[in-house]
């Protein structure tokens, strides 16, 4: 029982990341009909927004402190971050400590801008081209974005810690009356899961309860009719692309403390997210979210010691295996709509 609970919990944070990326992919596919291979790169850029902000915040100036000596007897050089000088030591330290959550605010405009530029500058010209061309050009774009990040940040992963408050782990087992230290779960992963849930809820609420969302949903169902009603649907779809970019970026920002950002993290997640989208059903938003969590949890179940002993290597391939089975038995995926990607 406790082992099962632990695996479900372990699957949740990875599942949240899959779900967020897959949600963005599905938004883009459902609205614009574009297969975006550069979506993983957006996730990665989000993570590097967190890195950039934490670097910006810890920019320091050097003062020479005559009262202290270093081990050679010279006056000690003290680095003081600007934020500490401006806001006082305590507030400044707290701001630096909280750089990852602050990066959420920092990344939203950046990701929206990146999304807009991508859509207006490149993807716009590929609506009428075949899917293979869309895949190829976004694949090229993903390589370019990845290499640009590599040029500026280097090839090594950059540790980006979460605020100290969330550094520990929650003894989940003790809360449920089990022995302590059986089910321990890092606080940040709980935060990540809650954050993902809020974002997913917000996206659905936006689509469901606002006029803008209603028009977008109508456009997804029948683009030309909405156009005939005199609504500029292209403009709204562009906004949806930016929104999808923001969702991917936020997923990346919050993922930075879980896995130190490196330039190829996007590609690693992209392949899996595509599998998630296909399993969930191309063009189905709830399907993407459901499949994301499902596959995340399945993956962590497959990496249980008992399962691996029984079927060695299963933890590496379970997601692909599930995808193959689903595609062959339910071609539309778990919750796919009729008529999407069926020529």
């Amino acid at each position: 029982m406790d082992a099962i609970l632990l695996q479900i919990l372990n699957g949740l944070d990875k599942g949240s990341a899959y779900a967020l990326i897959a949600l963005g992919l599905t938004l883009i596919f459902g609205t614009l009909g574009v297969v975006n291979f550069a979506h993983g790169a957006l996730f990665m850029i989000g993570a590097f927004c967190a890195v950039t902000l934490s670097r910006l915040l810890s920019l320091s100036f050097v003062t020479i402190d005559e009262t202290q000596k270093d081990f050679l007897g010279n006056p000690l050089k003290v680095e003081t971050p600007y934020v500490e000088a401006w806001f006082g030591p305590e507030t400044g330290a707290a701001i630096i400590d909280w750089s990852v959550p602050l990066a959420i605010l920092f990344s939203i405009p950046i990701m929206a801008l990146v999304g807009l530029l991508m859509e207006r500058g490149l993807i716009k010209y590929f609506y009428k081209r075949p899917h293979a061309d869309q895949i190829l050009v976004t694949f090229g774009l993903a390589i370019v974005l990845q290499e640009i990040i590599k040029y500026f940040f280097g090839a090594n992963p950059i540790p980006t810690p979460a605020p100290d408050v969330f550094a520990g782990s929650l003894d989940f087992g003790a809360m449920l009356g089990m022995d302590p230290n059986i089910i321990i779960y890092p606080y940040w992963r709980i935060v990540y899961f809650l954050f993902a849930a809020v974002i997913i809820g917000a996206v659905f609420a936006f689509l469901q309860f606002t006029t803008f969302g209603m028009v977008v949903r109508a456009g997804m169902a029948d683009r030309s009719t909405v156009g005939l009603l005199g609504i500029n649907i292209d403009k709204r779809f562009t906004v949806m692309f930016a929104l999808a970019a923001v969702v991917a970026g936020l997923a990346g920002v919050m993922y930075a403390p879980i896995n130190s950002p490196n330039y190829h993290m996007g590609m690693d997640f992209l392949v899996l997210s595509f599998v998630v989208v296909v399993v969930g059903g191309m063009g189905s938003l709830p399907g993407a979210v459901l499949a994301g969590f499902l596959l995340g949890i399945l993956e962590s179940f497959a990496s249980m010691a008992q399962v691996v002993a029984l079927l060695p290597g299963i933890n590496q391939i379970i997601i692909y295996l599930v995808a193959i089975v689903i595609l062959l038995t339910r071609p539309r995926g778990l919750m796919g709509r009729k008529g999407v990607m069926e020529s």
Binding site: P130, E147, P312, Q316, I324, L328, M341
Partner: protein, 401 residues
């Protein structure tokens, strides 16, 4: 000749000539000169041109003709490599059984993958092949370690049985050979300032490549090739005429898988080791890039694309800031600094950035790749010279989509 029409025969002989004379053609700059770094006439690189050329020709049979975009072809190359190394470990250091078994194993594996993946088309097909390739990659790293030797990669050892050969020769692992001719053997010809290297391995690759190219031409011109084109242009209509497209696409998939296996086998013949990173999906992406860059659906395009990418990869990653400063020595210091600053991100380790940008530009502006570019330029000249004679020159190969 050989069942080819006049145009294809001349193309075949042109390629043959280029391949045979490559050690001369790729070494235009004298040894020790400033430009010698642009020479590509050394065996290792020339072998790679041909091997990736074969890989791309095979990929083109699937993608160029049927339009099915596979993102998992590197898996077949990897399987081929492993099969080849195992033949060398178990049987003999002669490369022929190794290459043969590479093709067979890659063919069998592609039959399995193709049988399942081809039940879907479009993006679903791409994802399925991607899933299979990633699965084999992960398995090669983890569970299949006894067969693949995991991260270290599969290598020859002194205590391998090699039933038909010898386990060790004078305390060393015997060299890969073709009936006694070692692959590494080279004949060096020094003429004036030039040094030309004729490598046995290269010429083995050349023979195999020409056979592969010939088979590809025959496939392109056969009724079978016509069927594959029909799959690409309109599968539904093809079904309406009572034809089942599945056997044709599966055959194309297996053939291109065997080409990938052949490339893997040759890689092993030239350098007897195999690693799982050859199967990663970025490696599959690379062959897609080669084919598109050269021109999918054309005969010679993929080979050009493969050569172009491998050449640029080699040259671009060799250039560094000092070399740039040498070039711009004539310019004023400030301007040279600025130029080096601008070019710096694109050279050396930044070569993938250049590749990515180049690839995007090709997909956006020239979907038919290099071949379409050549054709456009050709048409431009033709129209200028004979405006009234033939004003409606049509492109021969349809742009790839």
């Amino acid at each position: 000749m050989f069942g080819l029409n006049k145009k294809d025969t001349s193309l075949f002989f042109l390629v043959l000539l280029l391949v045979v004379l490559a050690p001369f053609l790729l070494n235009p700059f004298p040894e020790g000169s400033e430009l010698a770094q642009f020479n590509a006439g050394y065996p290792d690189l020339m072998q790679r041109f041909l091997i990736f050329g074969i890989f791309a020709i095979g990929f083109n049979i699937l993608f160029g003709l049927t339009g099915y975009l596979s993102f998992g072809h590197a898996a077949f190359l990897g399987v081929g490599s492993y099969a080849g190394v195992w033949m060398m470990k178990l049987l003999t250091m002669n490369v022929i059984p190794a290459i043969f078994m590479s093709v067979v194993f890659a063919g069998l594996f592609s039959l399995l993958v193709g049988y399942i993946s081809l039940r879907r088309s479009g993006i679903y097909f791409s994802i399925l092949t991607l899933a299979f390739a990633q699965m084999s990659f992960s398995l090669a790293y983890s569970v299949l370690t006894p067969i693949t030797n995991g991260e270290t990669g599969l290598q020859l050892a002194l205590d391998d049985p090699r039933i038909l050969g010898v386990s060790s020769e004078n305390g060393a692992i015997p060299a890969a050979n073709f009936f006694g001719i070692p692959m590494r053997e080279s004949f060096e010809l020094s003429m004036g300032g030039w040094l030309f290297t004729f490598n046995a391995g290269y010429y083995l690759c050349a023979v195999v490549m020409m056979i592969a190219f010939y088979v590809a031409i025959r496939i392109f011109r056969s009724p079978f090739g016509m069927m594959l084109r029909a799959v690409k242009s309109n599968q539904q209509r093809m079904n309406f005429t009572g034809l089942n497209s599945r056997p044709y696409t599966l055959a194309a998939f297996v053939i291109s898988g065997m080409y990938a296996g052949l490339a893997g086998g040759l890689m092993v013949a030239m350098d007897p080791l195999a690693g799982a990173e050859r199967m990663q999906w970025t490696a599959s992406g690379e062959v897609v890039l080669m084919t598109i860059l050269g021109g999918a659906g054309t005969l010679i395009g993929p080979v050009l694309g493969a050569g172009f990418i491998k050449y640029c990869e080699n040259i671009f990653s060799k250039i560094n800031d000092n070399i740039l400063y040498d070039w711009f020595a004539a310019l004023p210091q400030g301007l040279a600094d600025f130029l080096v600053f601008v070019i710096h991100p694109f050279i050396g380790k930044g070569w993938h950035l250049t590749l990515g940008i180049m690839f995007m530009l090709i997909v956006i502006f020239l979907p038919g790749g290099i071949m379409e570019g050549v054709e456009r330029i050709g048409r431009l000249f033709k129209r200028k010279s004979s405006k009234d004679e033939n004003s409606t020159a049509r492109p021969k190969a349809a742009p790839a989509e």
